[in-house]
Symmetry: C2
Subunit: 202 residues, 2 copies
């Protein structure tokens, strides 16, 4: 979803890189667009249809120095990536607060090194407060996308802290998560998967 | 709440500036802390008490150039402030999605030049989707804080677009908004004002 950068705390994180210019017609190049772009475009679709308002949070940056080369212009000349306090996306759907982290994996497992402890705790807290919280995960090598509800993510994470496996295998996510289908509009109908898990039970 | 900067679209906006180091004891200097700091500290209180999870969104920045002075370090050397897509704060409270913009005014009125059209439309949309949306406003010269629900903000804004007053006077906000009291913990108990308006009616 971006460039991999080593953070001051030693972790390896993805950072935002300049966006590729979009073309309007669906071509093979478009199909290769990033997972993040797919989510953003789906959110635009949901927003325009009045279905949901879900936004990606800006990349947190610590601004150190700003120049004013012209009266009307502020140019940031020294800044650093900051550790995000929360997750990538949040918003409102069916009157509920919705919150999730998005990850794309080349390997057939999701390593807990890819997510901060406080991000998992954030998702756990949201669930406790009555919100919808999950991980949306793409296995890019096999072109599959799933939603993994926060309670399952937390359960596996706790296991990992107690000597268990440090990652969640694809098989577990396939069996316990909810598959997200790719389509034309929206590109990634992940709210359909949200419906299946969070709104069918009642 | 920050430095005033002219944006590429010609509007004057506040931008994040480096935070003043906090002291632990309550002194007169603390009382002079920014409105934004008060909201952030109140949010920390709400979070720690398990009452709500509400965060300020990072300042949106368009990153143009990143240097890697050392293997482990990414230094942003060219970036620009971007127009925010949404509002300052959002989160979850009483299972509801909550979303607001915060403004501090020296004058005894709130000018519509201080907020983007799309931010007002965003608040309007959130209300329509069943969320809690408002403007929280400080009149710093008289030390008063109010919540102005989005429906009233939108109504006044529509009037301004149709030849009406281009600002909302303090008197209107005093009569129609909900006052927010300052205290010790939380510093600014704005969720009490939210309760009065959004949860008492039912």
């Amino acid at each position: 979803m971006g460039k991999l950068v080593k953070y001051p705390d030693g972790s390896i994180r993805e950072v935002e890189t300049k966006k590729v210019k979009k073309t309007k017609n669906i071509t093979k190049a478009n199909l290769g667009e990033s997972f993040e772009t797919e989510i953003n475009e789906s959110n635009e679709y949901y927003l325009n249809k009045g279905i949901a308002a879900i936004y990606k949070k800006p990349t947190p940056v610590q601004i150190v120095k700003v120049d004013y080369p012209a009266r009307n212009k502020a140019k940031i000349v020294e800044a650093y990536y900051k550790t995000p306090s929360t997750t990538d996306y949040n918003g409102i759907y069916k009157e509920k607060y919705i919150d999730f982290e998005a990850k794309s994996c080349r390997e057939l497992n999701f390593s807990f090194e890819r997510i901060y402890d406080h991000q998992i705790r954030h998702l756990e807290r949201i669930e406790k407060l009555g919100g919808i919280a999950f991980l949306i995960i793409e296995f890019s090598s096999i072109d599959e996308v799933y939603i993994l509800p926060s309670n399952l993510l937390v359960e596996k994470y706790e296991e990992s802290l107690n000597g268990g496996r440090k990652s969640i295998p694809h098989d577990y996510i396939k069996d316990n998560g909810i598959i997200v289908e790719r389509g034309f509009a929206p590109r990634l109908d992940y709210l359909k998967a949200v419906d299946k898990y969070y709104f069918k039970k009642k």
